[in-house]
Symmetry: C2
Subunit: 377 residues, 2 copies
C-alpha cells in the first residue's frame, strides 16, 4: 500500500528532525527497577521492549509513549520493566506491527491505521475521515463494543491493542492557494497520506508523498500547493507557518486520532491478572493524559498563529466540506466490503456515529457556540 511506504519514509526523516527538537522530558529508557524487582523477588518479573512508530521523544506522540512506559513500570512496581525505542532504533517505524507479532518485542506504540496493508479495517481504530471525535472514539471503544471488535480483528495476528492516547481533531492543512470550491482541488499538488489522500485524489488533486522533514521546503518553494501535518503544536515546530499562508480548519480527515498500545498476546498472557490490570489501566491513564497535553499545547500554539499576521486561519466552505464528506463516506464504505469483520466494524462504527451526532450537537457544539456569542453590552 502506497501510503504505508510513504509513512515509513516520512517517519524516518521526521526522526532526524525530532532529535533536534528534543522536547522530551521522560527518562524511562533505562530499567531503573532492579531494586524494586528484588523486593518483589518471589513474584515473576518481565523485561519488555517497547518499539514506537514515532521518533524518540517526538512531541506529544513520542513523549506519550514514554509516559505509557513509565505508567506501566510505576503501576507494576517495577515488575514489568520497559525500554522504549524510537522509530528506527530497533525496527523501522512501520516495522512495529511485525516486530510485536513476532514477539521479538512485547509492545508497540503507534496508530492502527499504519497497518492498513495488513487489514484495511484497522483504520477504524485510529481515525477515518468524517468519523468520530476523541470523546466519541473513547466512548465507542470502551463502551460501544469497539474494544471487543478490535480484539477480534487482531486475534488472527496474535495481537491485542488498547487505546493509549489521542491527538484530538487535527488541522486541515497548510495551503498556498485558497480553496473556495471543490473544483479548486483539481490539479493541486497536496501532501496528504492515507484515506484523506484517497479522497483528495478522487477530487482531482495530485497526492504526493513527502516526509515530515521535507514539507517545509516543498511548501516554501511552491513545489507543492498544500500539506497536512498534525495540529498547531507539531506544525509550528517544523515551521509550516513560515512556508504557507492559509491554515485550514477542520481536520476532516482525522477528527480524533486514537493511538494504540499494540501488545503481543503471548507476552500479555504470561502476565498474572494483576499485571494485566496494570497494563490496561496504564493505557487508559495514558490515553487521558495525551489528549490533555495536546489540548493545552495546541491551544498555546494556535494563539501564536492567530497573532501572526502572515497567516490566515480559514475554514473550508460548506460546499467544499459537503463534497469532502460525500467522497469520504464512499471511501470509508469501500472498506466495509473487504470481508465480514470489516463489515461488522463498519456497521458498529457507523451506527455509533449516527447515535452520537445529535448529542455532540446538543452538548459540546452548542456550548462552544454559546461561549462565542457576543456580549450584549
Amino acid at each position: 500500500v502506497g501510503s504505508t511506504k510513504n509513512r515509513r519514509k516520512h517517519i524516518k526523516n521526521s526522526f532526524l528532525l525530532g532529535s533536534s527538537i528534543a522536547l522530551g522530558t521522560s527518562s524511562c529508557d533505562e530499567p531503573k527497577t532492579d531494586l524494586k524487582a528484588r523486593t518483589n523477588k518471589k513474584l515473576k518479573t518481565h523485561k519488555w521492549k517497547m518499539v514506537t512508530t514515532w521518533p524518540k521523544n517526538f512531541p506529544g506522540l513520542g513523549t506519550g509513549a514514554n509516559k505509557l512506559a513509565k505508567y506501566i513500570e510505576d503501576l507494576s512496581d517495577g515488575r514489568i520493566s520497559l525500554k522504549v525505542y524510537g522509530a528506527s532504533e530497533l525496527v523501522p517505524a512501520l516495522g512495529v506491527f511485525d516486530a510485536v507479532q513476532r514477539g521479538s518485542v512485547q509492545i508497540g506504540h503507534g496508530a492502527s491505521y499504519y497497518w492498513q496493508g495488513r487489514h484495511p479495517a484497522t483504520s477504524f481504530f485510529a481515525s477515518v475521515p468524517f468519523g468520530l471525535n476523541a470523546h466519541e472514539m473513547n466512548a465507542w471503544i470502551y463502551y460501544g463494543g469497539g474494544q471487543e471488535l478490535w480484539h477480534k480483528l487482531y486475534k488472527p495476528f496474535g495481537l491485542l491493542s488498547f487505546p493509549a492516547g489521542n491527538t484530538g481533531v487535527q488541522m486541515g492543512g497548510w495551503f498556498n492557494k485558497k480553496i473556495n470550491e471543490p473544483r479548486d482541488f483539481k490539479g493541486l499538488k497536496v501532501r496528504m497520506p492515507g484515506l484523506g489522500g484517497r479522497v483528495l485524489s478522487k477530487l482531482g488533486a495530485t497526492v504526493v508523498t513527502l516526509s515530515g522533514g521535507d514539507i517545509f521546503q516543498a511548501l516554501k518553494t511552491k513545489n507543492i500547493d498544500g500539506s497536512e501535518w498534525v495540529g498547531p503544536y507539531n506544525d509550528l515546530a517544523i515551521g509550516l507557518h513560515k512556508a504557507a499562508k492559509y491554515y485550514y480548519t477542520p481536520g476532516w480527515h482525522e477528527p480524533g486520532t486514537c493511538l494504540e498500545a499494540l501488545i503481543n498476546k503471548k507476552a500479555f498472557n504470561e502476565l498474572d491478572d494483576h499485571l494485566k490490570s496494570c497494563v490496561e489501566l496504564a493505557c487508559k491513564a495514558a490515553n487521558q493524559d495525551m489528549m490533555s497535553e495536546f489540548t493545552l499545547k495546541n491551544s498555546l500554539a494556535l494563539s501564536e498563529v492567530v497573532k501572526n499576521k502572515e497567516v490566515e486561519i480559514l475554514r473550508f466552505s460548506d460546499s467544499v466540506l459537503s463534497v469532502l464528506k460525500e467522497t469520504s463516506n464512499s471511501v470509508v464504505k469501500d472498506i466495509s466490503e473487504h470481508d465480514e469483520i470489516s463489515k461488522e466494524i463498519y456497521d458498529s462504527f457507523k451506527n455509533f456515529k449516527e447515535a452520537c451526532m445529535d448529542w455532540d450537537k446538543a452538548s459540546e457544539h452548542s456550548f462552544s457556540l454559546a461561549r462565542q456569542v457576543k456580549s450584549a453590552k
Copy 2:
C-alpha cells in the same frame, strides 16, 4: 451557603430514587483482597473507606466511584482495600468533606463545588458557568497549573484532590414555557442550584430548591416552570421527559463538570511511593472512563428524546445566551475577590480559557459543524 443546603436535601432524596434504579454492576464493596494481601504480607496494607456524595450505584456518578475503588484495589494488588459507601450510608452527602478532613474515612468521591461554603474557589475545580469543557478542564488541571493550585487550596484543610471523572456538557434544563428573550426568566420559578441559580436569580427568576426526587412532580403539576438536572442519561431515568415539553441546550452553567477524589493527606502520606502512583493513576483512568460512559449513555438517551414527539429540543437564543454569559462572568469574577488564592485560581482559569477558545473553535467546533453540513446530492 444556601446552595449547599439545597444540594444536601437533593442528594439525600435522590438516594432513595437511586436505589430503585439500581443500575450499578460493580461489586467492589467487599474487601476480596485477603489472599492477595497475604501474598504481599511483608508490604504494608491499607484499609480505606470511600464515602461519596452520590447515592449508591447512582448511574454514571455512583458507578464511577465504584470503578475508581476497583481500579485502586486492582492496581495496588489488594494492598489498598476499599469499602464504598453511598450518600447517607456512613455520612450525609455533604458530610464527605468533613469526614475525609477528620480522617475517619480516607477518601471521598464527589464534586468540589459542593464545598463552596468551605471556600468559594472550590467551584473552579468542578465547573463554573461559561467555563471550560471536559477536554479543557483536564488540560488545565493536568498541564495548565490547575492541579498545583488545587493542592494549594486544599492544603490548609489537610486534603488533596485528583480529577476522577467528568460528566461532559450538561443540559440547560426542562421548561414548561419557552424562553425567547432574557426577560422571559423574570418571574419564572426555576430549580437550579449553585452559581447557575445565582445567575438566574439576577435575571429575575425565583430560584427554588428541590431534591432530584421532587422535580418530576413539581414540573408535571406546573408548581415550577423549569428545572435543570444532569443530562439525558440521568434526566430520562427520573422521567423528566414526561413532565415538561421544552428541553434546552446547552448546559451553560456546567459545561464539563469535573468530579474529584478527595483524599486525607495524612492517609495518603502513609502510602509508599508505589501506592501513591496507584491512587493517582487510578483516578486518571477513572476520569477517562466516566467521560466515555457519559458520552455513550447521553447519546443513546438523547436519541430517545429526539424520537419523542412530546418533547421539543431547543437552543437558548443568542440574546438569552449573551445575557447569561455576561451575568455569569460577573458572578464568577465575584469569587476572585474573596482572597488571594481565589484571585490566583481565577486568573489562571481565565487566562487558560482565553488561550483555548480559539483552538476549540478551530478543532472540535469546526469539525462538528463540518459533520453537520448537508450532502451536495
